[in-house]
Symmetry: D2
Subunit: 266 residues, 4 copies
């Protein structure tokens, strides 16, 4: 039976400020990307988020970002490889401390915001991050938007022997080259369009592009934006689609599951 | 043969700002308390400090503080037990991430500044910190100024089965009840006075007090303030005293070493 | 004709995180207390909030807090008078910079959160804040919960010749000595109870206490908590009560208005 | 008589961390650029620095930077014009608050670090900063490294009618196009070379370039790096050179002084 993982960014609140609908979203997902205090999140939020994930049997990964709380990690900052290596060790380590208190271990790492954008093209920053990730975890996974080929970070991961879990985004558009078209403001995601996109992917292994073409995706995980206005309704609907097509909803990482990933040449 | 540990606070620089003389001090000590970014230190400084410690065979512990960079963690902040539990998990975890990158593991935890002062008397904050410390490490040590009895934090540590390494301070005065008399400004430490204090402790297990009395100390470690103007000269002199009295200089923690600690009833 | 001011805390968002309903609340109030970046708010939020206030003819005051973004300025921090003096100069000055860009000037200063609590009793911190406030503005006002007598900060203000605008809170309870009973969690405010409290104050100059007594209040301003679930409905209802009793709704500060304040011996 | 201004960056300490030799440097300069808390400095440091400047009759300007304390404002951050406009209003306003407490007013604004680098080429960021600067001060000056022509920020200043005070740097090299060649690490500045550079400028209005050519500079101010190892000796030597050539040392800004600036076509 085929499987699909569903991941979402969680724990993005900061101190007194709330962000997202973690409590409502978590029963619907299999994997959480938890902010580590640099762009969002704080120690108390991390402890609460990890407890919530444990309660719902959700795997927890680190969602490290740039040290820019004011800009939510969405602004490019010209960090050096030495800076970034240390920032990732620090953030992932902090989450591992929180996980250790619940007897849990780190599932994966997913770069956030402008850091993600910088890692798409920078070889030396990618190497610095990989060096940190492979140091802190015994067998780490990386989450990254598919298509994977041609991205500096994915190349560095593969050279380091780290498995990259490709993601599909049903609430964003795809350019002709497979790049995600980022939205300025986040409106509700059209359910019909999201259903169609997921079905197309599950049946054909591709997504349609804004220009009318299609690109193949090697995706093991469906990424949900938890701060969308209808995020919970959206993920419930998509779970229904997966069920209709006999796709089991399960966190990525088990070798068996990885053997039957859509869009990958086995 | 008896042994003595020598510890110092290291890695207290922040970004572009330098503090302390880590490079000169580290060859003289056995154990480093490394700041974790809340009151001082930052990820890059932590990585460099841990590398330096490894190069010199120095054991590394976490030196967590209150989230008050502006006040260097020296101002009391009315955190809740939930806050503090999370802050300690986060800070210790972050250092463990940095240590993991060098194949090292956490040696101990030593609370910094105002956090130390708060833990002297608060039972509930002490419990919260202990819960965090016992969660992150398999067999953690705690460093704390002797005399140990009557301190809320030491009581909580003992109830949790965590060994507390008592410290002697040769550059601070002791009140009649054994409390350290904190200095407002840090001048050079008189070498003769420091030598006399250390000799008295090694020979009789006590320190003299400002009022003319003396108190017994159960100390396994000698704490050096690395930011004093003559810190390096001081520690070299004290190493000489230890050598003269046939005391081996060795990091605390090995059961054999702990069996022969001065001032403790075996 | 008698007058009443209505004030609320505004601009408490931070970066990507939203707090409060500033857009909906601002048409209903006369005076805004704007956060200055230490406990909440940030430069962009301040610029937007001041523009909104200008658009609605609302007077703007500074709402300085302790440097504790993580705790939203609600945790006591043992700052020195020198620290606090500088923090207030800095925060009020920063808001004045933002006001200058709109051709506006500072209306008042209202201490936030734990800073407010500390100023209730500390003479030396109160003096330090007053020294800052009188330095930055030509004729500053201070907002403070009534009853005013017996508060260290009010005494310091009076000695400095600064007028203190007393406030009434209809959504909090009053203890026998007039102290506000702070709520742990913020539920919706009962409209009937709020109406009754405001009417009692307007007709008799007193508020009822939790113990069944009553205390006189010298209040020129009604403080609304903008983050309450029914804040907008509440303030609209209270405006109706003021209208029924022929009380003009107008920002505090004009000498004529101050001559007819409820509860003050003229 | 001709005049020359001498400016230096001051107040770059942060909390417990010291940077620079402000006390020794300030008797030798006429104008201070004071950090405002975003890349360095903090409210207490600002208050102390402004008091020191007043004591020595030194004019005070704002030295705003990017919100990156960890990187000392030396890393490019992709801020929007709206962000930057607000950051400058906030920082300059905060310094004006501190100045108001001493009865002083703002002398000038000088962008720091990576912000300076970004303003060399970005028209829209330059416009945003100018809009802020002209809003907060009645007749602001801007300090900027000469040669001034061809810099986006200088163009925006001129369009806004703001006078730009050109600076000469005697401890940095100049490229053929007049751009400063930034050093990686700061060693002591060679006195002979600095003297020769200053003499050449005073006598011919030019500086030599690394390629063997020379470029004309329109400089009213000599910028000293206060964190150089021999900064105090350097500035004293240069004051001697100015004295030998009958150049009065005086802060920039008075129209009479500006009429006789070296290198400008009157």
């Amino acid at each position: 039976m085929e499987t699909m993982d569903i991941n979402a960014d969680l724990g993005e609140s900061f101190g007194n400020w709330r962000l997202g609908n973690d409590e409502q979203l978590i029963p619907e997902i299999t994997t959480a990307n938890v902010a580590c205090g640099f762009h969002g999140g704080d120690p108390v939020t991390m402890v609460r988020t990890v407890a919530l994930a444990q309660e719902h049997g959700v795997a927890v990964g680190a969602h490290p970002g740039l040290p820019d709380l004011l800009g939510f990690g969405r602004r490019v900052l010209s960090v050096s490889p030495e800076d970034l290596h240390a920032y990732v060790l620090y953030q992932v380590g902090s989450l591992q401390g929180v996980l250790a208190a619940r007897g849990m271990s780190l599932h994966h790492v997913k770069p956030h915001g402008a850091l993600y954008a910088m890692l798409r093209t920078s070889e030396e920053l990618s190497e610095a991050v990989l060096e940190a990730i492979t140091a802190v975890g015994p067998e780490p996974l990386i989450y990254w938007p598919a298509p994977l080929d041609g991205q500096a970070f994915v190349g560095a991961a593969r050279r380091a022997g780290v498995h990259v879990v490709g993601e599909i985004y049903v609430d964003l558009d795809y350019a002709e080259d497979g790049a995600l078209v980022l939205q300025r403001t986040k409106g509700p995601t059209g359910l019909d369009r999201a259903i169609a996109r997921l079905r197309r992917f599950l049946e054909q292994g591709t997504v349609d592009t804004v220009g009318g073409g299609s690109v193949p995706l090697e995706a093991e995980s469906l990424c949900i934006h938890g701060d969308g206005p209808n995020a919970v309704e959206l993920v419930r609907t998509l779970r229904g689609v997966l069920g209709d097509l006999d796709v089991a909803i399960r966190t990525a990482g088990a070798p068996a599951a990885r053997g039957t990933v859509r869009g990958r040449t086995a």
